[in-house]
Symmetry: C2
Subunit: 115 residues, 2 copies
């Protein structure tokens, strides 16, 4: 949950260095932004974050309703986001690397109707 909070803090402060530090080094990473195809590999994923964080039009994210499941050295947080008032459902995956929870997965998708 702390790593998940660091993700949204990095996003909302447009702190690319913090975002870069958060993503896993040793574990293969993947990221699916809303409406995007899957990006795989650290380089492609971080390039997408750099573009997003550098975009002055990018609105902040309000995140909430998170539930975390820890499975040994992996953890998954399912949650919700609001971006400019639009609802998004998210899956964030974390892995223990060098004693730190690092992100290896972010999957965000638009919710067509609130359930």
């Amino acid at each position: 949950m702390a790593a998940n909070a660091r993700f949204y803090a990095a996003f909302n402060t447009k702190d690319f260095a913090a975002m870069e530090a958060l993503w896993a080094r040793a574990t293969p990473v993947a990221c699916i932004h809303p409406g995007w195809n899957a990006l795989e590999g650290r380089e492609a994923v971080l390039e997408s974050w750099q573009q997003i964080l550098e975009n002055p039009q990018q609105p902040k994210i309000v995140s909430g309703a998170e539930s975390a499941t820890v499975l040994g050295e992996a953890a998954v947080v399912v949650g919700r986001e609001l971006v400019s008032g639009s609802p998004i459902a998210t899956t964030n995956g974390f892995v223990l690397e060098e004693g730190e929870w690092r992100m290896f997965l972010h999957h965000a998708s638009a919710v067509a109707a609130l359930g």
Copy 2:
């Protein structure tokens, strides 16, 4: 990968019993269908699958381009699906329970443009 294949086999043969057997018992489960909000808990998730599998209009899924990451007793498969020709990006999560890989997470989202 075998568990992931079982998921698509259960889907395409509309075999609810196989789908039910595939989902984890001891681990909290979550499922995000394309455009849906997150469903959490075995009951809500399986109810959604029952509705989907009972729907005679539900087209089959062509799945592919999968990559699996195993993190101890958890595994994540990022992949693609085609449903009636529409591209979907997916994250499927599995957990080892009683020596079996069981699904605890399915997140599928429409891809607006092929990347």
